[in-house]
Point group: C2
Chain length 357, copies 2
DNA sequence: TTGTACGCGTTATCAT
DNA sequence: ATGATAACGCGTACAA
């Protein structure tokens, strides 16, 4: 059904090779202006599109990038994932690459899938979205890279020989602490993932460093958790006794919502006595109550950066260093108080954010 | 770098055609067990993978399905999109299809992109995720379908000649109303998208039908809106006067959250006097307060169904009828009251749901 | 039982 | 200025 170069050649009364040259703008032995115009007209009339598989075979390039995601059972992480993919797709489209999406249940299969798709010529490079920090996976990926595979990891990858994009965790926590410190608060709480994951360990280490340097009072109000209900119980407990924390740093939207619910139940609405900031992947503006601080790492930006890195790797042979993306500090604007009915989604205040060592 | 059949043939001392036969298990002229074993061993040793582009060229099938999404500027809709894609990817993988993701800014370009990718042999079929109901798009898609294109629409498509998957809107609203009606409430409010979109029109029409049939008192508490802050203002206003609505039906998570905030501010927490149910795409369990009813259409299920339909269309030449997916009724469980600290994410009560005409 | 030859649609080289 | 030809990797009809 689709027209090929052969069809055009027959129709225009020339050989197929000439058609190819004209369509490529190859000034080989120069084609006469008349036949050139005739060929272009015919191609247009027949709705010619070069066949992707034929080109892939010929160029030994599929112009496809694999986006492999470890399917998180944890629903929280699903919410934040689409913007990342969207950013990657947009960036790839800008470089004439298409994005193929696949999922794997566990990281054990990830390297194997990447290797297979690369060997099958399905894709030229890969982006892996990983949530944990599994050493065996990095080792396997490093092997693949040495064999010539091109890939970028989205996630906290502890192997610097692999290209990766992730939060700037110290920057995130440092900025969060500074927001409250600069407003005269020193009793700060932290709700973050358990230290037994490498991401959690990174987080807690950064927090201890930052909190000590700033002279904060933090030890009574730290807790490793990830779900909304855990946060709800924990914060509610903290607020029953004195002294209370003046502000809470929450990793993730569910934890932020849980902390918020607990504050309300305990009679401490946002902005009155207990401030809150939600850090991490948090692209959804409308999720939190007015007055809550947000320190989100833009998913769109993360995806975009990852895609740009793959494309760059594919083009030149440089090995880019790992990238750590700094979040933007914003605040959910008071809605019932400050805004007239009918106005659009929450506008946020933008504040400066800097990197921490 | 990757091994081809020719490599295997050379290594095993046979011709490439024999290698092909063995790898396909084609009992052409039957191959001797010895050479057969030798070929298989060599293929395994060399890590042979059939080249996707070569197979696509040969079979005139790419084994790729395009997932085209209209990139919604509206952040609310972003949250719900990943489960849909995940469902589609999973279903496609089960049929040996891969999923290619692309985005377009407006539906004006959607048909054009589908036609182009199909013509270029990039994909065998397409899934279009559309949020509006643009007649010109359906017309263009119908043209494409007549020319032999295979595609399925995710969204409220008013053209029944096209295959589509979407919410069962009357079922959704009918079930929601019945939840409260069966608990003795008759003053029900509705917060739904404006009628000037076809989806909104569908929604309001279904609501009028259902509400009148059930003999509800509903006219004072209906409002067309989509954002959290609009919902917040509207509901707060309703609660200042008597009579108050006994329950609110909210389309979408942002609207549900806004209504919730307004209820709290007005001194009507969930379960006390004003019940709430959130309907529509709502895959995130942790989003709402305990006691809120949820009537979500599973995004995973929608994506899965769409993919199955494409695959089926690709296999046989049947034209499946539009599918309308009924949501599941659940309730966010009370957390601080009923559950011990440390227990996992909210378990929900499942209740029966039926279809409405 | 195995090898040869052709075609899928493109691009590129080499003759004319 | 243009046409024949080879090659990319694979599957298959046909000849040996």
């Amino acid at each position: 059904m689709a027209a090929t170069q052969k069809d055009i050649a027959r129709e225009a009364g020339v050989s197929q090779a000439v058609v190819s040259d004209v369509l490529q703008n190859h000034p080989r032995g120069r084609v006469s202006a008349a036949t050139r115009a005739r060929i272009l007209e015919t191609a247009h009339r027949l709705g010619y599109r070069p066949h992707a598989a034929a080109q892939a075979l010929r160029f030994r390039r599929s112009r496809v990038i694999l986006y492999l995601m470890l399917q998180p059972e944890d629903e929280h992480r699903q919410a934040l994932a689409e913007p990342v993919l969207g950013g990657a797709v947009a960036a790839c489209a800008g470089h004439e690459y298409r994005v193929l999406v696949e999922t794997v249940a566990t990281w054990e299969h990830a390297a194997e899938v990447v290797a297979d798709r690369l060997a099958a010529g399905v894709c030229d490079g890969a982006i892996l979205r990983v949530f944990d920090d599994p050493d065996p996976l990095w080792a396997r990926l490093w092997e693949l890279q040495k064999e010539g595979a091109t890939m970028v990891v989205i996630g906290q990858c502890s192997d610097d020989r692999l290209a990766s994009v992730a939060h700037d965790v110290p920057g995130m926590l440092g900025s969060a602490a500074e927001v409250f410190r600069s407003r005269g608060m020193s009793r700060l709480g932290l709700l973050a993932p358990p230290r037994n994951t490498r991401f959690g360990a990174l987080m807690w280490h950064a927090w201890e460093t930052v909190a000590e340097r700033m002279g904060l009072e933090w030890r009574p109000w730290t807790r490793a958790l990830t779900s909304r209900s855990q946060a709800e119980h924990t914060v509610y407990g903290w607020l029953q006794e004195l002294p209370r924390p003046e502000a809470l740093i929450c990793y993730g939207d569910p934890v932020g919502l849980g902390a918020g619910a607990a504050c309300r139940l305990a009679g401490h609405p946002v902005g009155s006595r207990v401030e809150r900031v939600v850090v991490g992947n948090a692209d959804l503006e409308w999720l939190h109550d007015p007055g809550v601080w947000r320190l989100p790492t833009s998913g769109l930006e993360v995806g975009r950066r990852a895609a740009e890195m793959v494309v760059q790797l594919l083009a030149r042979e440089t090995t880019p260093a790992p990238v750590r993306v700094l979040p933007e500090l914003t605040r959910v604007e008071s809605s019932l108080a400050a805004r007239p009915p009918g106005s659009q989604a929450a506008v946020t205040n933008r504040l400066p954010v800097r990197s921490f060592r």
